[in-house]
Symmetry: C2
Subunit: 374 residues, 2 copies
């Protein structure tokens, strides 16, 4: 859902033809109007402080928070359409990616998903005539729900003639979840000395796709271009999003509530300073730059500074935890099948990110995605 | 959300160029795959029986059901764009309509909405350059949330170049809600002798829009065509959807749990036999056919039988209640500002609808929107 707070005013995106000014103005309108509605909650329900800057919305009720996210896939389905002749079941990945967009946001507040719904809007019902593609999408979405410990409850499949292009699909959806008991809320109470643990991504996930499409359009071989490891660009892009719900569930069940959690999506590693807290995030360990990200940097003419500001660069999710919990967090991640590492530490300082060894520094002005006062 | 169970194979829609065959096949795939995921629910959460044929999804948890709906507006925004020069603030209505599509489904299972999220997908951020239109949309959505007793929690505003037409917007969203205590679930336990109470709509709400667009396209005056009461077709279409959340809340708070509730949307009054129950719904009182519906029937060449099978025809919502509660239900509706009437009665018989005085009869085969076994 992102609570209307994205700001993609980075140069790589502007160059790819995506202009977010009008969008951002609309999001500000939404933020303002939405904040006026909290008085509408019934007795027994309350909006907790500081939730509107977060990746999922919470409502306090009894000894729980109810959680809600609405999210979209973006345009990764256009890549899936373009690579279907040489990548196996790309829409299976798209189904998982759609769940990932929803659930990886939901769990950052400590909520576990309960039910997930799919929104699949088409310009024409004929989009579903490709039965194998439709089956792959459905199978991937169901698998994503299973991996997230959630039920696929329902959804909506509108045919919107004259709104959606006949050959395209708008994939999105929502989740409701729960934080119970309330002490499991991941609320952003971080301090100097806390450690940053990162979890590996599988590749691009579903962010930066407009940029990738531009690279493919400019390359003679398009999505069949070979990366340095011999795989095609298209195959690498279609690796399904890693779902981090199990990791958060396992942490919470073993009594570890991270101080904060970040789904590294748009804005890349700048997202690590999503909180307003006046601290410096010092990253000491970055994963090796994969052939996919190296290809994107080379073809797109991106500096490392731009690349880490745009993509997840191999780090798909981060939690900030007490230094005494790091070993347990790493063990829990690994037992859940995740690759994880101690990436860095939170230090006193102005709000900023320092990636040591790469000479990358983002000051606080590089990420401004919270509504005022949150 | 509709749990993937719509079937719009009626002739008026087919004539308007909407073919739902491929869509229905996809919905069946979704139904099947979704039903395989209920084992993924964590201990303490369970899917209640017979929920997958309903308009909202429920998960049992403690002494409550958590409720979830994902729904879309459809294409009514195209009407709003077409009438903006002579209808005041059409996007304010669109905002309310979008909330209505979500919330009027949610409350049919006895759930009260807690948080609502907006999905507004555009082909280009330039859609939001019309600041007055954007403000109207936001104001309408917020007002819809307020009228529904829910908070606007967040949302998603993707710019989907090459997917959504540059001039269009895909409006949808989701709600999470709650049925608490569980005895407030509206579950479909109906029997002969129960009474049908209907609540007035404000007009078309947001269903049958493709048909209306076709009528406008064929009429010299388009949306400026005059209805018999002197208002324009466009004005009449843009009356915002009535929100029935307050009505359901007021009923539940006064201890009246309807046996069933129906949001009269696609399929018109055929929706009254949404349940599989082997009963006949006998309607004795229909509201006068408004100038808008008369116009649609005349211009579209619809018989009364087709019109009641397609539009809400002035009856936007129905509840089935004990005959001893009818007077209270009517009083509660009126005190909430709704127009309501005792419309009919449930009788023993084959699953069918009889509209007395209009000589309209729909047998069970006229509505088949439930997944198998639900």
């Amino acid at each position: 859902m992102r609570n209307y707070k994205e700001n993609h005013a980075d140069s790589a995106y502007a160059a790819a033809g995506v202009n977010y000014d009008s969008l951002d103005a609309f999001k500000r309108l939404c933020q303002h109007a939405a904040s006026t509605t909290k008085e509408s909650l019934s007795p027994g329900f309350a909006e907790p402080p500081h939730i509107r800057g977060e990746s999922a919305y919470l409502v306090e009720h009894g000894d729980s928070f109810l959680a809600h996210v609405e999210e979209g896939l973006g345009t990764k389905n256009l890549v899936a359409d373009a690579v279907k002749d040489f990548v196996k079941r790309p829409y299976y990945a798209i189904g998982i990616d759609t769940v990932g967009a929803i659930v990886n946001d939901l769990v950052t507040v400590g909520a576990l998903p309960v039910a997930i719904a799919m929104h699949a809007g088409v310009g024409s019902g004929a989009w579903f005539d490709d039965a194998a593609r439709a089956q792959d999408l459905v199978d991937g979405f169901a698998e994503g729900c299973r991996r997230s410990g959630a039920v696929w409850g329902g959804g909506e499949t509108p045919a919107l003639k004259d709104v959606i292009n006949p050959g395209a699909v708008v994939l999105a959806g929502s989740a409701m979840g729960i934080v119970t008991p309330k002490t499991r809320r991941i609320s952003g109470k971080i301090k100097a000395g806390d450690k940053i643990v990162m979890l590996a991504s599988s590749g691009i996930h579903a962010n930066g796709i407009t940029f990738c499409r531009k690279i493919a359009a400019e390359h003679t071989d398009g999505y069949r271009a070979r990366l340095s490891d011999g795989t095609t660009f298209g195959e690498a892009l279609m690796r399904p999003t890693v779902l981090y719900a199990r990791f958060i569930r396992d942490l919470l069940e073993r009594g570890i509530v991270p101080f904060y959690a970040v789904n590294v999506t748009g804005h890349g590693w700048r997202k690590l300073m999503r909180l307003d807290a006046p601290v410096r995030y010092r990253i000491n360990v970055t994963p090796p730059v994969s052939p996919l990200f190296r290809f994107l940097m080379d073809r797109g003419g991106l500096s490392e500074r731009e690349a880490y500001a745009t993509f997840n660069m191999g780090g798909g999710f981060a939690v900030y935890v007490d230094k005494g919990d790091v070993a347990d967090v790493l063990r829990i991640a690994e037992s859940g099948g995740y690759e994880a590492w101690e990436a860095g530490v939170i230090e006193d300082g102005d709000r900023s990110i320092k990636i040591a060894g790469k000479d990358i520094f983002y000051d606080g002005s590089a990420l401004n995605i919270r509504p005022e006062g949150q």
